[in-house]
Amino acid sequence: MAYVQPSYHWLIAGAEDNVVYVFRNLDALLDYPPDSTSDDVSPAPVRLSHPLLTPTSDVRIYTAYTRALLVCNSHVLQLTFDRRTASPVLAVVDELAGLGVARVSAGGDRFGVLTPAGEVYLVEDGVERLSVGREGLGIENEGDGDGGEEDELDELEIEDVALGDGFIAVLSSGRVYARGDSESPAPSVLTADTFGQLGGLAGDVRDWTHVPAPGRVSRIYAGRFSLLVDVEA
């Protein structure tokens, strides 16, 4: 009789033959491959394959609460669990094809994917491109007013992104901007700034807002209700 873990956990292990192994829990990974002399029987792994996963692929794994992104040679795959059967499902995130990946941040049950072009995409059940307009922040564009390409840059070029529960922070030109997001999984009693993660901003932070930092910021990180910045010396 197969051993069944009381709590429903899977473990997924990349593999020697283009497959992703899906195990139920961490112990199963630690026990893999099973010792034939042992009486302990860990749950057997589920094996998922995908053409983008090759035996020599450079794969980086990012995880949220119930899903994962696998960045593989600039391709992005998402692993989710079927809501009805709980079976793991692996699929390419088509909307990110060819864009490249500079950084991934997980917050709540979604991801923020920063591309080398300075664009951010939110990945959850769907994909949404994040827009941070200059006008709302009172930032002039860098064009010379001649109607050229730079004059059309009405959005900030983003250098980093960090997602928490109920807020998104981005970094542009050493400054941090953030907003709350009512679609986050955070409990409704909490606002985007309940714990001061956005600097004690009053009210519902629906619009992008500058978050003052002690200096020029080079990286940003987020916890569920906290924001960390790496300030240049």
Binding site: V59, T66, P212, F225, D230
Partner: protein, 133 residues
């Protein structure tokens, strides 16, 4: 240098500080830099300032562990630049040089990357480096 603001209920930002911090304070919360810069090169300083893990119960950098989470005292050290701390809400283990070390002293190898969700744990290893055991 790392600064933080937000939820400090479990002292993961500033030990001994208020539970809510609404302005950036040095990560140590002592009013001084947590990492003495000394003669470190920019690259070395960047490595030290890298946040390996952060959530509401714990913050881990290559040379700093902050927070009330009792697992902080038990998880393996992660001073290497390429260390990866795994966990969902709490840190569960450290992956360094393809060796995953978890709470309780168990370890697994060789894994190139490992990630944890509430529904399971993910890991990856390349073909030409697979061994048994």
């Amino acid at each position: 240098m790392l600064y933080a603001q937000g939820n400090n209920i479990a002292n993961a930002l500033a030990p001994g500080g208020p539970s809510t911090i609404n302005h950036f304070v040095p990560l140590s919360g002592t009013g001084t830099a947590p990492d003495a810069r000394g003669d470190l090169s920019d690259d070395a300083q960047q490595a030290k300032d890298r946040v390996l893990w952060h959530n509401w119960t714990a913050t881990i950098t290559p040379n700093l562990r902050i927070g009330d989470d009792p697992v902080l005292a038990s998880i393996p050290t992660a001073s290497e630049r390429n260390a990866r701390v795994i966990g969902v809400d709490r840190p569960l283990g450290v992956l360094v040089d393809r060796v995953l070390k978890v709470l309780g002293g168990r370890e697994a190898r060789p894994w190139d990357d490992v990630g944890v969700t509430e529904l399971g744990v993910l890991a990856w290893r390349t073909c030409n480096q697979v061994t048994t055991g």
